[in-house]
């Protein structure tokens, strides 16, 4: 015998309805002047939470947006959902282990996250990297830059509501990822660079895949671009959106393509040269508009420059060893060093302090995405909510690096 199903009524005494004060989380108390300003709601304004699991936040980011209707009045990014304490972990690891902790910082282009600490440690150890290893590093980093930029292209379209480009951009990216997997044994977190060289010389599979890809790369990437560059919806949507001028960009500490889109030709490969970049020929593409479209176009131009660099590297790469002679246990003399590389998002820097033991005493990791995320507030104030995502996509932050 079953009891008949009845529709529950709110008058039923068994249903306890909590008091209104229990429904809502208490409003956070302001800790700073700026937060008090942010938490103060004027007439018609309300808070909307974006994230932390919003699909278009490039990782786990929460943005508290203060909106008036559909218009963004102010916003406050809340970080820390991916915080792993990499700097602390590195202090408790030896120099070789520290490199592999930095890999997952920017999972989209992890070779750059390795290159910066390796550069700093090599300065601490005062070791000369063999020329072949330098060429291999440039080759793999430029490949990784192309992979990151093509993915950016697809992501940006996805954030603007277009599904197709990401499917096409993954074709190129997958090809490069497979290539690097053949070389390093890993698909994403390569752990390929070593203090004083690289882990293993170029192998046959990598070279044949690379040659195959290079023969059609430029044409393939150009045909993918047609999906977006000639798409009127995309161009109209991004032109004039989130415009940043050069003076503000410099004051905000912006680097990389986001800075070059404002017309400042600052590129670490040119201005603070490392590895064999001074011997290679390439342009530093810039745009003057500083809007979302310019940030997109600069990255596209960089893909072409990277292909040019790879072409030169393949022609000029010398034979020789790929590792310098170093003791197994890295124990630099006490000192300080700053190593930086130009990544696909800007300047990655690592400031390492040695105290003479086999572990870094302090290892500061500077990630450009962290700085660029500060711009989301100033650039989207007064725009529509949907444009927040468009501006954020054009700044191309990766939360793994932001949260460290």
């Amino acid at each position: 015998m079953t009891t008949p199903l009845t529709k529950p009524s709110l008058d039923d005494p068994r249903i306890a309805i909590p008091a209104a004060s229990e429904w809502y989380e208490p409003a956070p108390t302001a800790q700073t002047e700026r937060q008090a300003e942010f938490l103060n709601l004027r007439d018609g304004e309300m808070f909307v939470n974006m994230g932390p699991q919003h699909p278009s936040t490039h990782g786990v980011l929460r943005i508290v947006v203060k909106v008036n209707g559909e218009q963004v009045v102010d916003l406050d990014p809340v970080l820390g959902y991916l915080h792993r304490g990499v700097e602390k972990l590195c202090e408790n690891a030896d120099y070789h282990q520290a490199i592999c902790y930095t890999d997952p910082l920017e999972y989209v282009a992890s070779l750059f996250c390795e290159a910066a600490p390796v550069a700093a440690f090599e300065k601490l150890m005062d070791v000369e990297v063999p020329r072949r290893a330098q060429y291999i590093r440039v080759l793999t980093m430029e490949l990784n830059r192309i992979a990151s930029h093509t993915l950016f292209q697809g992501w940006m379209a996805l954030d603007l509501g277009g599904i197709t480009p990401i499917l096409w951009s993954f074709i190129e990216r997958d090809e490069i990822v497979d290539m690097l997997a053949a070389l390093t044994g890993q698909k994403l977190l390569y752990n390929y660079y070593r203090i004083g060289g690289v882990n293993g010389d170029l192998n046959h599979e990598f070279m044949s895949r690379l040659g195959n890809w290079m023969s059609r790369a430029a044409a393939q990437i150009d045909s993918n671009l047609g999906l977006m560059n000639e798409n009127e919806i995309f161009v109209r949507r991004t032109r004039g959106l989130g415009t940043l001028d050069a003076a503000t960009a410099l004051r905000m500490g912006v680097t990389g393509p986001n800075l070059r889109a404002t017309g400042v030709p600052f590129d670490l490969r040119r201005d603070h040269p490392y590895l064999v970049y001074p011997e290679l020929e390439f342009n530093v593409p810039t745009r003057d508009e500083g809007d979302s479209l310019a940030r997109y176009m600069v990255r596209i131009d960089e893909i072409r420059e990277s292909i040019r660099i790879i072409d030169q590297v393949l022609h000029e790469m010398p034979d020789g060893p790929v590792m310098a002679k170093l003791p197994r246990l890295i124990r630099p003399r006490p000192g300080r060093a700053f190593g930086a590389v130009e990544g696909p998002r800007g300047a990655y820097g690592v400031y390492a302090i040695s105290d003479g033991t086999d572990q870094p005493f302090r290892m500061r990791i500077h990630d450009p995405s962290f700085v660029h995320l500060q711009l989301v507030g100033p650039l989207t104030r007064g725009n529509l909510i949907a444009d927040t995502m468009a501006v954020m996509a054009s700044l191309d932050p990766v939360m793994g690096g932001v949260d460290k």
Binding site: R251, H272, A347, H366
Partner: protein, 183 residues
């Protein structure tokens, strides 16, 4: 290595520099006191002979004896990185002036240094924790940070008994404080 930069720095900031200018590879390093820090950075930024317009990095350092704030700057006039170290900040009450008026982009990096070291940047309007939760009790990158002890005071205290530590007095026993002669 940019020798001209070292000469220019010595001439311009002579008595302000705590130690002589040091150069190694493509890095130039100067040390200035807490009181002179912001004025020196402002001069480096504004004066056309230096034109250090780009703040590449700002970070805190705990040497075990004192706190430091370290700035890395870049200029279009020189191929060198300029490292400005502000040493001698009291560990028990670290306090320096904020750089936000000069580089607004320093705001989050200062928040991070505050979160990780407890360094208070006077003049930063938004100095609150950025990575750790608001009710977190200590500053993780300090050299006296002891993980188990701090976990027992964190919001997750008591979730797993294994992580519960004794009092802070017990916690510091047996751990060694690393101090850097090089920093």
């Amino acid at each position: 290595m940019d020798r001209a930069l070292a000469t220019a720095l010595t001439e311009r900031f002579g008595s302000t520099l705590l130690t002589p200018v040091r150069q190694r590879f493509d890095e130039t390093e100067i040390r200035v006191s807490v009181a002179d820090a912001i004025e020196t950075l402002r001069a480096l930024h504004d004066e056309t002979e230096f034109a250090f317009e780009m703040l590449i990095d700002l970070c805190g350092v705990d040497t075990g004896e004192e706190m430091q704030v370290v700035y890395h700057l870049s200029s279009s006039r020189s191929g060198d990185w300029l490292r400005v170290i502000v040493p001698g900040i009291d560990r028990s009450a670290p306090r320096v002036n904020s750089l936000v008026s000069l580089w607004p982009g320093a705001e989050w990096m200062e928040r991070e240094a505050y979160d990780m070291f407890g360094i208070i940047f006077e003049g930063n309007r938004d100095l609150r924790r950025i990575y750790m939760p608001d009710d977190y009790a200590s500053h993780p990158l300090r050299k006296d940070f002891y993980l188990a002890d701090d976990a027992s005071r964190s919001p997750a205290a008591g979730v797993r008994n294994m992580e519960r530590a004794g009092t802070p007095v017990d916690a510091t026993r047996g751990t060694t404080l690393r101090k850097s002669p090089g920093a």
